[in-house]
């Protein structure tokens, strides 16, 4: 399944990422999880390979439990990102508090603030320097679509998704730390492949069913 999604690599030693750094091709096999459909084609019901699904869920659990963000603040939203890591909100509860200063060791890039023309290439480079699997949260209106600088912002990129793929959009100007936490949980859902327990407590369902049509 790796070969299909990523193309064959003749010589693993000769694999490069977008900024021209070598990547260990042998590890690509491990990294490409594919989708559930891929998995279903491998793991037939009653097959001995069912252990694979367990391993995969272990991998996913590990990845969603330890999302290390990059210390990467762009603008105002960075202050709210700091607050989210701070005492009251404590990103570390989710295992996401180990802020790494270097892109090489981080899993998550929180684009917290306005991306300008001058900075955009740097953002892209940082994204390329991160090792797979990696995720991006676009935090705040500016990163989502230019925000308040949409109209006369001659130097503002109208959304970071013009430069790099974004997994979760966290709206707000700036978003409250709670919203960033919610975004993180959404990202965890995305890695998990299904809605997690934390996202929807039972009382919400009860509450919804009690609302008259």
């Amino acid at each position: 399944m790796a070969a299909e999604t990523r193309g064959p690599r003749r010589n693993p030693e000769e694999a490069f990422n977008a900024v021209g750094d070598h990547i260990g091709g042998d590890r690509e096999q491990l990294l490409s999880f594919g989708t559930d459909e891929d998995l279903a084609s491998v793991v037939q019901p009653g097959s001995d390979l069912v252990i694979l699904a367990q391993v995969q869920s272990l991998f996913r659990w590990a990845q969603l439990s330890s999302i290390w963000p990059m210390t990467f603040g762009l603008a105002c939203c960075a202050i709210e990102m700091m607050s989210a890591a701070g005492t009251r909100y404590d990103l570390d509860r989710f295992g996401a508090g180990a802020m790494r200063a270097t892109p090489r060791q981080s899993d998550l890039m929180i684009v917290s603030g306005t991306v300008t023309a001058k900075m955009a290439t740097r953002v892209k480079r940082l994204y390329d320097q991160m090792p797979d699997p990696k995720w991006v949260i676009a935090m705040g209106s500016c990163a989502i679509g230019g925000g308040p600088y949409f109209k006369h912002g001659y130097h503002v990129v109208k959304g970071v998704d013009m430069m790099i793929p974004v997994d979760v959009y966290v709206p707000g100007c700036p978003p409250r730390p709670e919203v960033l936490l919610e975004g993180l949980m959404r990202l965890q859902d995305k890695i998990r492949g299904k809605k997690g327990r934390l996202v929807r407590p039972k009382w919400i369902d009860d509450y919804i069913t009690r609302i008259p049509d």
Binding site: F16, N17, G20, D21, H22, I23, G24, R27, E28, L30, L31, L58, F59, W61, A62, Q63, S65, S66, G86, T87, D90, D92, R93, F94, G95, G97, A98, R100, A101, T102, R104, Q105, D107, Q129, P131, D132, P133, L198
Partner: protein, 349 residues
């Protein structure tokens, strides 16, 4: 290792084995146990670090991974790091870049062999144990230099140079500090050093005024030896991004991480066996029924906790100040300490 050999020779299935096979098997067992212990211990310390940091900063730290206070956090981190993509910079020195994390981890791991967890629980009861431990733990700095040079990154290079200068300098007060104790006991064997502190609490070397000075010098120098705050100059996050391991990803980075925490335990354990009474509780009556390894490990963990505590409280020194403290304060002080102890011994006898 001897304990393993003994256990094996008593086991029924190993009765017919050749002595060399038996000792080889024992070696494997001992090595495996230590390796597992190092890895699990380091993971535990990483979790502790995050929880203690959380407590000091009025946060919780990891809470949800593993349901109870994030106990599985380090395992999740480890598995995740294992799955990360492996990147090395195009112009990196590939050999050095690859071997550096192994050097760091091996250096930390080798020292475990001589740590006396109890009278019988020691990997290899070497007569030059202390000497060996210092020698192997300075292998770490080889890894740091290899990482910094091999990464082809200027920040890494800075980290490596700082690390080299720092570790080489602090080896000296570290070695000099324990010398009075060695003189007193007359052995470099860590087990013997611990054995010498049998009895009541005040027979610990810590409570001897001369040895107390040694202990303080040792404790502070050991912080520099394992690159912890306030001496974490090789990886100063606010100056050198991540220092010597800036370019490392995934498992290679994890080895640095594990190595650092294992090293913390090693220096603590040496301090325990040299100064803090080894596996003795300080009350002879209690010693009889408390398992020795437990006491030893608890004491070491406490010293590790002290290191963590300092890290989250203190700021960091500058390079020249670090060197100043070593060469102009600690080395003269430890030399004077050694001299005074020698003088007293020769006079008192």
């Amino acid at each position: 290792m001897e304990a393993f050999q003994q256990m094996l020779s008593q086991a029924g299935w190993a009765q017919g084995m050749q002595p060399w096979a038996l000792s080889g098997l024992a070696m494997l067992f001992a090595g495996g146990t230590i390796l597992g212990g190092v890895a699990v211990g380091a993971m535990f310390f990483i979790w502790t670090e995050r929880k203690v940091a959380g407590y000091i900063q009025s946060r919780y730290g990891p809470m949800y991974v593993g349901h109870f206070h994030g106990v599985l956090q380090s395992i999740a981190d480890g598995v995740k790091l294992l799955l990360k993509e492996d990147i090395w910079p195009t112009d990196a020195d590939k050999f050095l870049f690859r071997i550096a994390p192994l050097l760091v981890f091996t250096g930390a791991f080798l020292s475990f062999v001589v740590l006396p967890f109890g009278p019988d629980f020691v990997g290899a009861s070497l007569d030059i144990g202390l000497f060996y431990a210092f020698a192997t733990s300075s292998l770490v700095v080889m890894g740091v230099i290899a990482a910094g040079w091999g990464s082809n990154n200027k920040w890494s290079l800075y980290g490596a140079m700082r690390g080299a200068a720092q570790v080489i300098s602090y080896e000296i007060p570290l070695g000099l500090a324990v010398l009075p104790v060695v003189m007193s006991v007359g052995s470099l064997n860590l087990g013997t050093l611990a054995e010498a502190q049998r009895g009541w609490l005040w027979s610990w070397h810590l409570f001897n005024p001369i040895f107390f000075v040694s202990f303080v010098i040792y404790l502070i120098s050991s912080l520099a030896e394992v690159n912890r705050v306030p001496f974490d100059l090789p990886e100063t996050e606010s100056e050198l991004v991540s220092g010597y391991h800036t370019e490392y990803t995934g498992m290679k980075f994890a080895f640095f991480f594990l190595g650092e925490y294992a090293d913390m335990f090693v220096v603590s354990a040496i301090a325990v066996s040299v100064f803090l009474g080894g596996w003795y509780t300080g009350i002879p009556a209690v010693d009889a029924f408390v398992p020795a390894p437990l006491v030893f490990i608890l004491k070491s963990v406490f010293l590790v906790f002290v290191q963590i505590w300092l890290r989250w409280t203190l700021p960091r020194l500058r390079v020249d100040q670090l060197m100043y403290v070593c060469w102009k304060v600690f080395i003269p002080l430890s030399l004077a300490n050694l001299f005074i102890y020698g003088l007293i011994r020769s006079m008192v006898g």
